[in-house]
């Protein structure tokens, strides 16, 4: 008996779900990100309003002053859905573990100049509390905002910030000990240096508008804090004073900020481009929170930069303005 093998092409009857096809213009293969994001959030048949907020539906676009014709206009340029996100972070976690191992095994922590170690403990450790604040804020944005395209990246951001707080804790335990963490908590609660920033973080906890909270936390605060502390102080100033080992321990933060700012910029751009009203609201929030965040960060910058702080911070703010101008909001 002879058997002929031949290939048969079986055309799938449809490439993707109808709701996705309507959004991407026809029945084309859709990416996992599109299928895991578009129209995920429930929009109808909310039988009861939440007892804790009878003014709104459980998912309600009117919680924000930003108005969008379609909240799924927001897209994450990194295309993170659960799978892509966890795989990307697992890879970064491996790198971070390797860096910590490298510093520990070669005793690099012990070779740090005393002044550098002191600066790191004073500057970085209280930032654990800021990262925890960001975790709270981003979880809140995810809970109260509208549309999966906007809300989804916020829960990833929340988890990232929790990770950053944990890395900072490990830096503290590596360069100091448990008392260093207690001391940092005391500084955060009592020292004048930190009260401006602590006030900023605590005030942001009560912002009700999810998009404003996104601006206050992810754009204005992180947009100045990360370039100032990680890109400038750790990577340049401390490295030139013999603190390269510290830059290895905070590599995740530097890489993470470079990655997430793409998403932040895209989000600001889409919100502002929607309408002149949105643009005006965004510009108002941005300049208001930027000014608060800059003045809160100034005493923190002084820990490492001394009298160069004003100059460096002004430079960081200028870069921030240029970044926002590129996203379509002139400040």
């Amino acid at each position: 008996m002879q058997i002929d093998l031949r290939t048969v092409t079986i055309k799938p009857l449809r490439q993707t779900f109808d709701n996705i096809a309507r959004r991407i213009g026809g029945d084309k293969p859709a990416s996992r990100y599109q299928e895991g994001t578009l129209d995920m959030q429930q929009t109808a048949n909310f039988h009861y309003r939440p007892t804790w907020d009878p003014e709104h539906d459980i998912y309600d676009a009117s919680r924000s002053a930003i108005k969008m014709a379609d909240w799924y206009a927001f897209k994450d340029p990194r295309q993170f859905y659960y799978g892509a996100y966890t795989m990307a972070r697992a890879k970064q976690q491996d790198t971070a573990e390797a860096n910590f191992d490298f510093v520990e095994n070669r005793g690099l922590a012990a070779t740090l100049p005393e002044s550098v170690r002191d600066t790191v403990l004073k500057l970085l450790l209280p930032l654990r509390h800021v990262a925890w604040g960001s975790n709270m804020n981003n979880a809140s944005v995810c809970a109260y905002s509208y549309g999966t395209g906007f809300s989804q990246p916020h829960i990833y951001q929340a988890m990232d910030q929790l990770g950053i707080a944990q890395y900072l804790t490990r830096v503290g335990l590596l360069l100091g000990d448990v008392e260093s963490l207690d001391e940092a908590k005391r500084a955060w609660m009592e020292d004048d240096t930190w009260q401006g920033l602590r006030r900023y973080v605590e005030d942001s906890f009560v912002i009700k508008d999810p998009v404003e909270l996104f601006v206050a936390q992810n754009v204005a605060l992180d947009g100045l804090l990360y370039p100032l502390v990680y890109e400038t102080i750790v990577d340049d100033v401390l490295s030139s004073r013999g603190g390269t080992a510290v830059a290895m321990l905070t590599q995740f933060m530097t890489d993470w900020f470079a990655e997430t700012r793409k998403w932040v910029d895209a989000t600001v751009k889409i919100a502002a481009a929607e309408s002149p009203e949105n643009k005006e609201v965004m510009a108002r929030w941005l300049s208001q929170w930027r000014d608060r965040s800059a003045s809160a960060l100034l005493p923190v910058a002084r820990i490492a930069l001394g009298n160069r702080s004003d100059e460096v911070l002004a430079e960081v703010v200028q870069q921030f303005n240029a970044r926002m101008a590129k996203a379509g909001v002139t400040l």
Binding site: T7, V8, T9, P29, S31, D76, R78, Q79, A88, K262
Partner: protein
């Protein structure tokens, strides 16, 4: 002019790559076969890293293409930014 082609496996990884190639090579023709996508072009086919990065939203190393590449034809010129298939005249 003769045809150059690139054949890739059909999967989640290659979909944005194929989209990028079609964007950069308007004259390219897609031939979808079972589990394989063959892209034919007259004389010249360019794969650009930047376009793939724009579509996937992450950094891309052109070497990653090898994982999903079944076969190709043409002379190959590869840099960090571009893979070009062409026939030397």
């Amino acid at each position: 002019m003769s045809t150059v082609f690139l054949a890739l496996q059909t999967n989640e990884d290659t979909r944005p790559i194929i989209e990028a190639i079609l964007q950069d090579n308007p004259s390219a023709v897609v031939d979808e076969q079972p589990a394989m996508v063959k892209i034919n072009a007259d004389g010249r086919l360019v794969v650009r890293r930047e376009t793939i990065e724009e579509i996937t939203g992450r950094a891309y190393d052109l070497q990653e293409l090898q994982v999903n590449m079944i076969t190709m034809s043409g002379n190959l010129d590869q840099t960090d930014d571009e893979i070009t298939l062409f026939w030397k005249s």
